[in-house]
Symmetry: C4
Subunit: 217 residues, 4 copies
């Protein structure tokens, strides 16, 4: 299970960072076109990865998804901690793998400024929406969850000002890519804090929303 | 259920308006590219939202969908009215949420002119098609309905001259965004009237089409 | 059933022609971007329409699909003829509906030259592939047929030199739109002949391929 | 079965090469837009082809997929060899078919340089990911495999520096197209070697990952 989480998160970062590099190189400065390619590649890749690894480890690839599972009592806190560790290690490995594909050195820090209240609010909303999408779809049409998550992230790249990282492991790993998908190391804590707040809000909201009996009000 | 409708409609508007702002900012005046991003984000986001909230409230997010359910006797008129109210409130909240993500003030009126017979005819056709798609797919492959609706709206952004609002709550809320997705407040009544006419036509057509016995003619 | 075929084919043409007009107007001469929007809108719209009307009439929307059903004995020739007639009528109605949405007159002839062996070969291949996709998917994963057809047509807009009409009703109706999706009336017979040849080849191939016992060779 | 593999692989190459030609012609030098069209057409087409032929021959269309099946004992080596031969023949036929659609001669060598460690690493990663996606999805949600593969390839066109051939039959056949999708004949052995190494790694990894009992660690 831990290998599955590590490998899946590594592939996810390779997709996010690799497609960002390709998009930046080919688009000749047209940022809309670059983000469109990046968003479609990420959404499609994420759907494929969840289908691939979902049967093994649940395909969280995301510490806040693991947090939600642990808070709902669906996994032990000990296992959740291990998930978080391998997700973060996998994420950094994925960045290095993508850099190797494009002839860049394994890691170097990003200069991409991503900060301020609009960005933090974006991350909180994006993360809350992601967790609600996972919980709601798992409850009503579980087989469609990989598609719901991929579709959600494709949309979230566009409807949030932060392009929706919505994932602390992804956020940390993207501090070490000096490319399209990067974020300055100094900006990471703000993103992660916003993601955690959005996650907690969504977990509490989901607990109330999806558990209470089905009635008029 | 009402919270689910409000929250889902809020997210829908955040997707529509937020991705419109992002698309407008990044596309440097290339309207085709902006609309492509806006259409794909909306279609993907809508599919994810219907999967998320469908099991709770039916995921109407749209007063004419609720109207159709009430007219077919699948919900009380009292509940339908409550749905309509929370959909409209949720829609305005979603616009404000999107504006906050992009550092804009909560509400300000749109200057985007959308009027005239071609636009009204577009809205009527778009709304009729939406209701037929929901009814037909719910009947033959209910699990595919979220995908049918998302795919329909992606197409409808492009095949109608109005970019297919097809939703009175969405129409009202988009009067207060001075961005890509906006519509002048003075143009909203024409859109809503066209949507209602299209909806009534589709409901009557659907009643005849999907209920009569399966025979040759 | 006949109303369903007529209405579905009308919506299909509205999608094809309408999204072509929108794409041409917004793309400022960038034909790749216009075709991308046109292809994605058509594929998404077609998937939605097949899901909508599939349970009523089979959602052929295409005389060669009806021909294949009749040749395989799954419908009478009398009904097949009626299907063909209403498909063609619906197709013309859809063109007029799209023109009304964009403020154009109901019908006027196309000046878009589409002729020559590469185009005819393209239509034959596109039509053969379409019929094989329908037959193969209906046999192995029937619920996925609407998605297979939508995906196939999205691809076929790009991989054929003719942008893949693959449908005689669509071909006839597109002679009367002076826009992106048009074809000169004088070029229609060549397209339809190529489509019929491709269809016959696919029907015979499919009869042999999908019926013979499952064995090594 | 062999006819199904040959025909499917031929269609796959027609999609890859044909959409590359169309994209190159229409995009006026905008490589990002060309690759986006090529990637979406290939992903959509591949999904449709796997749905079409999956019930007949398993729809491998790829010698390393066949290799994996043989190594896992799910088909005889004799049959696997025959699959490989017809896949390669089908692939060349597909290139010729695409060239005929665009008025080019059947075969002429590519001048497109694709070489070096970043490209080879890309091919190894792309191929490994493809085989893991097939194995993982087949195990957890078999009906979703055609969608997982199509989504994976759409993403892989973007996240790898080589645009992800990930298929020796495709690699050989693309040496004879002087267009967007081509690869110099002299560069093919490096690609195929990388694909084989990636495939072996994925097969061994998959054997360990997907077979060992489901436990904590």
């Amino acid at each position: 299970m831990l290998v599955s989480e590590a490998l899946g998160t590594a592939f996810l970062l390779a997709v996010v960072v690799g497609s960002g590099i390709m998009a930046e190189r080919l688009s000749g400065g047209n940022v809309a076109l670059a983000l469109l390619a990046n968003a479609l590649a990420t959404g499609a890749g994420l759907t494929a990865l969840i289908l691939t690894f979902g049967g093994l480890s649940g395909a969280h690839f995301n510490p806040v998804v693991t947090l939600a599972e642990a808070m709902e009592g669906r996994m032990t806190w000990r296992l959740a901690t291990a998930y978080g560790v391998v997700q973060i290690c996998g994420a950094f490995a994925g960045v290095a793998a993508a850099h190797a594909m494009f002839g860049l050195q394994a890691f170097s820090p990003s200069m991409h400024v991503r900060s301020g209240w609009p960005q933090w609010w974006s991350e909180a909303v994006a993360t809350a929406g992601l967790l609600l999408a996972i919980r709601g779809t798992s409850r009503s049409q579980p087989a469609a969850t990989p598609f719901a998550v991929g579709a959600y992230i494709t949309a979230a790249y566009w409807f949030t000002a932060s392009t929706s990282f919505a994932n602390p492991a992804v956020t940390f790993a993207r501090t070490l890519t000096p490319t399209f998908a990067g974020i300055r190391p100094v900006d990471a804590p703000g993103f992660v804090a916003a993601e955690l707040l959005g996650a907690i809000a969504a977990i509490l909201m989901g607990r109330w929303l999806f558990v209470k009996p089905f009635e008029e009000s």
